[in-house]
């Protein structure tokens, strides 16, 4: 692995000498005095800590986490004293790690006199605990890996699997990523794997950890136990916990818990809290009856849908006039008392209109689309259901009229009026007629088949202003000789300069565009790994503790990742691991230019006042 870029290390500093960045026209070179280089030495071992290394480098303070950690440390110390088998290790930037000794497993089961956390472990059924789990993981990791491969390569099946498992079963403990929702009294509400009711003991353990820390007037955010991170999120009477050994950053896992909570609010509204005020031991599971599939599909999307960490939505590429036509008819409807009118194809937006000043948060769109797409019932007929948009108003239900116009395209009309069904039905008929007449629906289907931007198509020379992504609309792109020869030079893998993939997020539009996956990202597993890498970059670029970075260049054995953040956009790009840095930078500039050239087709413009 090359580390020839090491020389730039010294110049890495966040925000040094950064003037205001002018709209994307400014080439990336200007920003490169601030380039931070994180060339990884090599291989997997180093991988583990690279997030921290990068973070620690930037500046000292991580007050938020450090403060939280203080309390955990106390708790941890208690456990260490009691069980005598955990040790707390404070690592460089003041995160706490809990480690079991290598022989922890045997001992853990044989210490009935332990108290504190350790005691809780002993009492949960099957004697499972975070520490032991890790011990087992060591020899089983191979099996888990192969499991994961088959899981991710086979088509994903919605719904809850492995219902028979509980915390006593080895297969349950070997799962790489668990999500739990529980009540403040320790009652299980949701578990990604296994039957919630069988996990009552385990739930109680989690609750005990949280309340132990809360009793000290603090909050537990993160516990590390070897490879595992346990992330906690407290939302009033609802506790959410993620236990993961996927090496995703804390911020990402916490963001995922926030989305899971949001999904729950979308189904029930925040007024569910009142049930706990009346009866602290309230059992919430019946209220979520039949929604396993909604949560499992959301959790699945954490590994394939960049919207889950970018907090932006993506549009289906469409000719400008086509999208305008769709927008115009939705606007008509919005003027007649509909709060939001949203036309989507799978998870991509065709068009979207809000009444007057109402604006829709991208996270709400993600959760709403996930809810609709994961529930088969919407596909069978017209539907009128109460839903809540957590970012819009977490306390109140809106009413959603949902209708599929074809197998993948669906219309959602949201209103505050519970009596509006027949009006919305009329609106839908009007919209459907217009969409059919103006060929919007057939264009949508064509776009789904054609796909979006491909790195192979990255123009070598800047396109004329009227550039078009869609060949049929731009009368085909002239393929120049130089373009042809260049393609050959790169032997058919990726685009120029070894560009494999990119995501461009427009900050003002709340939208992103991702290139289509092309070789070498052939499998879902590889795609998932890339998204995880982007996600890590996103977290480090947005780390509040160390201030915002402008650029980041990172090389590991899988790829070179380049990230560039300005006031207007964020660009995440993946290159061949042997890619040359200078030409990678040049290519990123070209990607930005390309996005600008075709923005009429890949973005929904006019959805926000800043967009033109």
């Amino acid at each position: 692995m090359s580390s020839s870029d090491g020389g730039d290390d010294g110049s890495a500093s966040s925000g040094a000498g950064s003037g205001p960045v002018v709209l994307g026209s400014k080439p990336i070179e200007d920003g490169f005095s601030q380039l931070r280089v994180t060339d990884l030495a090599n291989g997997g071992a180093a991988n583990d800590g690279d997030g921290e290394a990068a973070a620690a480098e930037g500046s000292g303070g991580r007050e938020g986490i450090a403060a939280e950690v203080g309390e955990v440390e106390d708790g941890g110390a208690a456990s260490a004293r009691a069980g005598g088998r955990s040790e707390i290790e404070e690592i460089g930037e003041a995160r706490v790690m809990w480690r079991s000794n290598s022989e922890g497993e045997g001992e853990a089961q044989g210490s009935p006199s332990s108290s504190g956390y350790a005691g809780e472990r002993g009492s949960s059924s099957g004697g499972s605990g975070i520490g032991e789990e890790e011990g087992e993981e060591e020899d089983e990791i191979e099996e888990v890996r192969s499991d994961a491969v088959s899981d991710s390569q086979a088509a994903w099946m919605p719904g809850k699997r492995h219902v028979m498992q509980d915390d006593a079963s080895i297969s349950w403990r070997k799962r790489k990523k668990h999500f739990f929702i529980l009540s403040h009294s320790g009652k299980p509400i949701y578990s990604r794997y296994g039957d919630e009711h069988k996990l009552a003991g385990f739930s109680a353990t989690l609750q005990a950890i949280i309340s132990f820390v809360e009793n000290g007037g603090d909050r537990v955010k993160l516990v590390r136990a070897g490879k595992h991170q346990v992330v906690f999120l407290v939302k009033g009477p609802i506790y959410l916990v993620c236990i993961s050994c996927t090496e995703e950053p804390y911020e990402s896992l916490r963001g995922q818990l926030e989305l899971i909570y949001g999904q729950m609010i979308l189904i029930l509204t925040k007024s569910v809290n009142r049930c706990f005020e009346k009866n602290p031991k309230f059992d919430m599971t019946p209220l979520l009856g039949g929604t396993d599939v909604v949560f499992s599909s959301l959790i699945h999307s954490f590994s394939w849908n960049p919207a889950t960490f970018l907090h932006a939505y993506t549009c289906l590429p469409l000719g400008y006039a086509t999208r305008q036509a769709a927008g115009a008819v939705l606007q008509d409807v919005a003027d007649s008392g509909v709060l939001f009118a949203i036309l989507m194809c799978k998870h991509k937006v065709v068009s979207l209109v809000g009444a007057q000043k109402a604006s829709l948060h991208p996270d709400d769109m993600l959760l709403l689309a996930n809810f609709v797409m994961s529930s088969e019932s919407f596909r069978t007929s017209e539907n009128f259901s109460p839903i809540c948009l957590p970012r819009y108003n977490p306390m109140a239900f809106l009413y959603a009229y949902v209708h599929y116009l074809d197998v993948e395209t669906y219309l959602m009309l949201l209103t505050t009026s519970s009596d509006a069904f027949y009006h919305l039905k009329d609106c839908r008929m009007r919209i459907e007629t217009v969409l059919l007449k103006s060929n919007v629906l057939s264009e949508v289907q064509r776009s789904m088949l054609d796909g979006g931007m491909r790195v192979e198509d990255l123009p070598i020379d800047p396109l004329p202003r009227s550039g078009s992504l869609l060949p049929r609309l731009g009368q085909g792109r002239p393929v120049t000789d130089s373009q042809e020869s260049l393609k050959e030079a790169y032997a058919g893998i990726g685009g120029p300069a070894g560009l494999w993939h990119f995501i461009y997020r427009s900050i003002y539009l709340d939208q992103y565009v991702a290139s289509e996956f092309s070789p070498p990202f052939n499998t879902l597993r590889q795609q998932k790994r890339l998204y995880r890498a982007y996600q890590k970059m996103y977290a480090s670029m947005h780390d509040k503790g160390i201030g915002a970075h402008k650029t980041q260049f990172r090389r590991d054995e899988h790829y070179v990742l380049l990230c560039w953040v300005t006031q207007d956009f964020e660009l995440y790009a993946a290159f061949d691991p042997l890619a040359d840095k200078a030409s990678a930078i040049k290519t990123c500039n070209r990607v930005c230019q390309w996005v600008k050239d075709v923005e009429n087709e890949i973005f929904l413009l006019g959805a926000s006042p800043f967009s033109w």
Partner: protein, 200 residues
Amino acid sequence: MGCSSSLPDRASGRLGGLNSENGAVNDAKNLRVKLVLLGDSGVGKSCIVLRFVRGQFDPTSKVTIGASFLSQTIALQDSTTVKFEIWDTAGQERYAALAPLYYRGAAVAVVVYDITSPESFQKAQYWVKELQKHGSPDMVMALVGNKADLQENREVTVQDGIDYAEKNGMFFIETSAKTADNINQLFEEIAKRLPRPTPS
């Protein structure tokens, strides 16, 4: 999704709200009625509707969200037609509080239970009481024991169903959405019981 009967009926009236006034819009020969299905989750409400409207049966269970809206028109022997506008409600507990939204103003309520589940029969009785309290007084009510094909697992006797229906002035029938047994009969019987408008 290629299903004719639930596709928009462009001629249908423009009545605001979930409730087409009184649930029944009438000229003497063409009736239009609002019908609501209620019952515990998993008893087969959606299957009954899909069997009636599309002649389909899908054994994979799909949980209904909120309420689905479908319509189907049938012709009676006296050459009147009845257009059912059917609200197929979700059986989940969280939607119970929202049920009035769907049954308010309905001319017909079909309360469904599963003959293999006494709990669902209990739940049906809850819905009947709820409708007696809050539904419109002249509502036609039907009690339906579904999954009649599962005779060997039966736990609610036919007599129990009949007795309860009689006591509450309901029409009773056992159906199987799976075999299509009695599905059309159910809706035909309902149609016959509808109050006819006096020709003016």
